[in-house]
């Protein structure tokens, strides 16, 4: 188990790109923080989620 946006998620072993696609996130509108660091977009495909990870997906909304 790992935590994504505060929820327990059974996604260990998946790449971040796989998780984001399955969860329906649009990669061009988000930022991903994993264990205190931002994951660069170019590394979503090679970042493998691990047991105990704490992840936050920030889904940006328009306005400014």
């Amino acid at each position: 188990m790992l935590k994504i946006n505060g929820e327990n998620v059974d996604a260990a072993g998946k790449t971040l790109a796989q998780y984001l696609a399955e969860a329906g996130f649009n990669q061009v509108r988000i930022a991903v923080e994993r264990n205190g660091e931002i994951v660069p977009k170019a590394k979503y495909g090679e970042t493998v989620l691990a047991e105990g990870d704490c992840v936050e997906v920030v889904n940006f909304v328009g306005g400014g």
Partner: protein
């Protein structure tokens, strides 16, 4: 424009020291801050920071002032049609004449961000489009490892201002806003709510310059 004399650099500095203290004012005067996007967030952030006596502001926007901008952005009705970078510079020079300003009338992209932002200590993301916000976070946090980014998401509509807050996501990434009020949901924009979010960003920048790392 009026032609009355403006206070001297020394008079403005003494006034800032009276209100902010001399230690804080000296730190602010040594700082360089970039503001990406000069709309409802960016124009208000720039005014707050200029008034606070920031050393240098780098201001970037490719857009022109539209009549619908006047309700929440720091432009005058006589400036409709002017490039925002140029119009804001004019207004800032009246408000805070001794701040150094560097303006760029161009669009920030993944390709030019490093060139435009490399002199800044802190970068403010003040775009309106979600994909542009996401792009800037990616570029600044990956390609400019010495910079701290203060971004915003969620300030549209007329919900309570108490929902607008500042969060520290990483050591270098602060996010202001309610996180969910999307202008694309057709909920409109309220001048004070956008200004509240801009004020959160400007205050976070100032706190970072003063060495306060908590959100």
């Amino acid at each position: 424009m009026n032609c009355r004399p403006v206070p001297s650099r020394e008079e403005i500095l003494a006034a800032l020291e009276k209100k902010q203290g001399s230690v804080a004012t000296a730190k602010l005067q040594a700082a360089v801050v970039a503001v990406c996007g000069l709309g409802g967030l960016g124009s208000n952030i720039a005014i707050s920071l200029a008034r606070s006596g920031i050393g240098k502001l780098i201001l970037i926007d490719f857009d022109t002032v539209d009549i619908t901008n006047l309700h929440r952005q720091q432009y005058k009705s006589s400036q409709v049609g002017l490039p925002k970078a140029e119009a804001l510079l004019e207004n800032l020079k009246e408000v805070a004449p001794y701040v150094q300003y560097e303006v760029h009338n161009e669009k920030v992209t993944a390709e030019n961000a490093v060139r435009l932002l490399q002199k800044a200590d802190i970068v403010c993301e003040a775009f309106d489009k979600a994909d542009a916000k996401s792009m800037l976070v990616d570029v600044v946090l990956e390609q400019l490892p010495q910079k701290t980014l203060v971004a915003a998401s969620g300030m549209a509509g007329f919900d309570s201002g108490n929902a607008i807050r500042t969060r520290k996501l990483t050591e270098r990434f602060y996010l202001c806003g309610d996180g969910k009020s999307d202008v694309d949901q057709g909920i409109g924009l309220s001048a004070p709510r956008v200004m509240l979010c801009a004020a959160h960003q400007a205050l976070t920048v100032i706190r970072l310059i003063l060495g306060e790392k908590d959100a």
